[in-house]
Structures are given as C-alpha cells and as structure tokens.
C-alpha cells in the first residue's frame, strides 16, 4: 500500500550509523531544484488539517532528535576536560577521533567504541573525522574548545551550514586541514568566513551543491587564503561546451 511507504519516506533515517538529511519541507537548497515529486503524505496534508498537524509533529520530533544529539555535556566537561568531552561527542555521533600520538578511535558497526580515552589526561585531540554526522550549530560548541585540533573533516554532514562555518575562527591557531566536501547546506557565503583560518594548508570544497559558481568560488577562496591548497573543481574536465558552438 502506498501510505506506509509514504510514512517511511517521511523521517530522517539512520542507515549504517550515518544520518540522512531531514525530508519534508526542509529540502537541501540547490540553485536549480525543480518541483520534487509529491509523496502521498504531502498530498494528504494539503487537504486535511489533521494530517498536516501530524506531519508537523513528526518533523518536530526529528528536529528535537537532532538537537538531543547535539547537546552539550557539562558534567563530563567538568570531570574529564574539554578534549575528552569533544571526543565523546564525536564518537557518540558515529565519527572518529585521533588523540595526539595515539591511534584513531572509531565506533564499530553497532555504535560501540572503546572507552580507554576517558583515562587520557591532558592529551589533546589532533584530528576529528565527523563525516556524515548530524553535527549542527549547537554541536559545534563541543568541538570549539579543542585548541590543538589540526584536522577536521565535515564531509557530507547534512546539518552543517554557513552559520557553523562562521564559528570556526576559534580554531584558527591550530587548524591545518579542513574538508567540507559534499555538505548540502554550505554556500559561498559561509566559505567567505574561512579567511580567519590563516594556518590552513589543505581545504577541500568539492561537491558543494549550494555553491552557485564552484569554479569562481574556488578562485576567490584561493585568493583569500594564499598559503592554502584548495581542492574543489576538477580542472582536468574542460568547460562545458554547447553542442552548436561554432
């Protein structure tokens, strides 16, 4: 029957521990997105107040789930310090963490991770891989106290947007590598705030659907950060030529 499948399509699903973008009215901003195919639930909610109220309730639940994931941990921070708190936050979301002079800590397929890092004292976090995590503006507060963070990967994070990028200036002293590939909500306006990160040496801004002119944006970002190597457009693929170009 069509109705249960429409319900399935409704909410944020977690496949293999990675978060998907929230569906419904909150669609990713793409410059040329045409009318998406309407689901049965969208059709019903246009015509019945009750279905609309139910849909709004379900969307609200999704949003509160994301907010719960991005909560802060004041007790852990007090007891173990900001590095361990940041690491715990990332591991709970499904990302990976590397402490200085230690190996990468990753959660396994069932979301379990080893807890020996709780015993680390004064060992700073060096690298964070938050690919595909549901980290958002609130959750960034857990990452910003990591003053020795050298590498941050925010690939394919559905809730990272321009506002989050404007908070990254606090990591300017240490951050050398940043990857934003595949984030659906990052646009060139957020990339403009990266000029604070003067120690950045590698920046990956490939595959950003919300950036209107990827080639031009890459050139402007390269001018903005002269010491940084920017990976974005694939220059080996030539410009798209029209079929009837003389």
């Amino acid at each position: 029957m069509a109705a249960p499948r429409a319900f399935l399509r409704l909410g944020a699903r977690e496949w293999n521990g990675r978060a998907r973008a929230i569906h419904g009215p909150r669609e990713p901003v793409t410059p040329d997105s045409n009318q998406k195919r309407r689901t049965l639930l969208q059709f019903l909610s246009d015509h019945f107040h009750d279905v609309q109220a139910l849909r709004e309730y379900l969307l609200q639940k999704q949003a509160s789930r994301v907010n719960w994931k991005n909560r802060s941990f004041p007790n852990i921070q007090q007891k173990y310090g900001p590095d361990v708190t940041g690491a715990l936050f990332i591991l709970k979301q499904g990302g990976a963490v590397k402490f200085q002079d230690k190996e990468w800590i990753r959660p396994n397929e069932r979301g379990r991770f080893p807890t020996e890092f709780l015993t680390f004292r004064e060992v700073p976090v060096e690298a964070v891989d938050a690919s595909g995590c549901a980290i958002n503006y609130q959750g960034m507060s857990n990452l910003l106290p990591l003053k020795e963070l050298r590498s941050l990967s925010l690939q394919r994070c559905p809730n990272v947007d321009d506002w989050c990028l404007s908070r990254l200036y606090l990591l300017a002293n240490s951050l050398q590598e940043l990857s934003l590939a595949g984030c659906p909500q990052v646009s060139e306006r957020g990339l403009a705030c990266l000029h604070h990160l003067q120690n950045l040496r590698r920046l990956d801004i490939s595959d950003l659907p919300a950036v209107s002119h990827p080639g031009l944006t890459q050139i402007l970002v390269e001018e903005m950060l002269p010491h940084c190597e920017v990976f974005g457009t694939d220059w080996t693929r030539g410009p798209k030529l029209e079929a009837d170009c003389p």
Partner: protein, 449 residues
Amino acid sequence: MFRRVLRLGLTPGRPNRGLRTRRGGFILDWDAKVSDFKKKIECMLPGKQWGMPYDTSYLPPKQSDVVIIGGGILGLSVAFWLKKMESSRGAIRVLVVEQDHTEYLAVVDAPLVDLQFNPSGCLLLASEKNAATLESNVKMQRQEGAKVCLISPEQLQNKFPWINIEGVALASYGMEDEGWFDAWSLFQGLRRKVQSMGVLLYQGEVTRFITSSRQMETTSGEQVVLRRIHEVQVKMNNSLEYQPVECAVVINAAGAWSGQVAELAGIGKGLPGTLQGTKLPVEPRKRYVHLWHCPQGPGLETPLVADINGVYFRREGLGSNYLGGCSPTEEEEPDPTNLEVDHDFFQNKVWPHLVQRVPSFKTLKVQSNWAGYYDYNTFDQNGVVGPHPLVVNMYFATGFSGHGLQHAPGIGRAVAEMVLEGQFKTIDMSPFLFNRFYLGEKLQEYNIL
C-alpha cells in the same frame, strides 16, 4: 464530526465554542444593520426583485479583530506573532492593509526560505572623537553575548590589506553570526508564512477612521479625552470604492507614512505642548543605494564596512560588485516626494570617501542606483512601540529610521504581547513608548547608516 474531535485533541487551547455569538455589547448602528438584513431577506423571497449583492470578494472583510496598516516587514512580523501567540487556532482575525502591492506568484510547498545570510561580519570604524562611544557600545554588546571585538588600526591593516587606516582610531569587528542577509526573501517568506497562518492581506489605502471619544478624569483630577477607533475605511486603489472594516485594535506599521495615518486618528490635533497636541514625529526620508563594479576591489572576505562619516559598503555576490551608500546631513536632505535618484550625490558625497578608505575603488563603475524611504523619527531616530496614551486601541510599530528590518521579529513579538496580554513580557520596551515625545526624553540612536 471526526475532524472536530481530532482537532480538539491536537490543537492547544479551549475547544470551539460552536454557535455562541462572538460579540455582545455596543455595536455601532444596530438598527440600520437590522433593516439592511431585512431588505436582503425580502429580495430572496419569491415574487420580489432579485437584488442580491454582487461579488465583493476583492474587498476586505467587513469585520476584523486586528487591522494592521502597512504590510511591510514590521506589519507582517506583528501579524505573525499575533497568530503564533493566539490561544486557539483561528481565535484572532487579522487583516493587513498595504498600499503598494507588487504581486509575487506564491509557490506551493515551497522549499525553506533561504535568507542568503552572509556571516562576514560588520566592520565599524571610529575616529578619535567616537572611539569612546564605540568602546562602550562594544562592551554593552559583549555583555549581551554578541561576539564582537575591538581592533586597533595596525591589526586592521594586517587583516584587510586593502584598507587605508588614515583617521581610524578604533574599529569593531563582528566575529560570529554577524553580517547581512537578503531582506526581500525574508519579506516573501514571512508573507507566505503569515498567509498560511490565516492572515488576510489586502491592497488598499486607509483614508478615514471612525472614532468615538469620551471625557475621563485622571487620578490627579485632570480632564482627558480618550478616543477609540471603531472602523477603518479602506479605499481601493484606482477607484472611489471603500470598505469600512470594523475592528478592535489598529496597529500603525505604515513606515514612512505613519505620521499621516496617525493624523487621521486625531493624534496631534490639539494645542502644541499638550499630550493631545503631540504629533507622531515620523516622516519619510529618501535614501539612495548604489551598486558598483570594481574588478580590483576587496575580495571574498570583505565585511560590511561602515566608515566614520556615515558611508557604508559591502560585497554583493561573487562578481566584484559592491553595494553601498551614505546618509546625507540635515542640510542636504533630498526631496521625499518622489523616488528619483540624484546621480551627483554619489559623485560628490559618496565616492570621495570611498576612495579615501579603499584606494582600489578609484576605478569603480556605477552599475545602478535606487532610492527608498526611511521612516525617519525626527525626535531621536529611534522607534515607537506600544499604545498611544489617548487613542486607546492604536498601537505603533514604526519610526526605526532604517533599522526596522533588523528589529522586526523582536518588535512584532513585543507588540503582539502588548495587544494580547497588555504588557511587554519578553523584552521590556517601555523606553520606546509614545509618551517620551510628550515628556521630551530622548532615546538617541547614534549609529544611523
């Protein structure tokens, strides 16, 4: 039946009262209404002349609980908060009347409103004279949680090599969550949302208020005349037809024309120096905005730069375009009766200062100009919020002299709280009340762009 039961469960507030009449008490001209109704019934009976009324769906409704005069960002914001804070769905009928209506095709199930927020920050420059004011402003902003910092001229030169720091003593720079956004998309998004919440938007001009007044005595024994607005007459554009709308509350969010609307309600008609004689000191002021192209100009990291003498500019898009302008001094105020752009203004007043601050702007080329109105408060350049002391059901939400857009959500909520609950709950806006014009207490706003 099912739907009503479900709605009782899902929506908050009291359940629907059903057929109980909404109003009781004083209704203007009851007898005429009864005879009108009798005439309509008579023409429906068989054998009589068919004189049923024609289609009037283009006219605003005959009654509305709240009429908001002015469909700009402030008016829509007030409408939004009134609908959000109502106790049950459909409890308050809100009507927004806007004079100038450029129709925009609404998109069904449209994607989330993209405000195009540029979090590049605002850079405010100050000379020796203003450095102390800037410092105290920044201190106050930091206390409230804003992430701004003070920069010295040397640090400024390091950060932005294209700037000329001559004459700059201090600068304030917003590090986080500060920048500019697209006002038009906010406006359109708010319009859509407000329409989906059940607010009626109509085009027309308010030409008259039907009021009643009565003498009252204050606690100190003085006689005052309190007025109450009963009807708002909305005239349709390009015709003489008008619709009287009975209302309980009127909100004056008419922007640059708030002064004229207030005069219609009798505000300011009295001996000068008395409360009756205090006019609403909001008048339209024309301001120009210029868009120019400069290929060697500052790059992607350019914040919104507000120079010492009131000239400001910011980056626009990715193609080396910049947008900016300047507020003229009192003597040079342009004529507000039309929206014609004076091109010499840019040449003589704006460009020299731009070149002095950013030398690469010497080779700029102006692409376009336009003009708009500020709802300029001649008293202290700060807004008026809240009820009028004598006209008891008129509330103001105007006079912000160019800052209305950034304050709109907060003001909307404050006015909605005032209307629904009788006092300011979240933020105390009592310094912005109308009384200060009579008492002479200025709430001066210094940073007008």
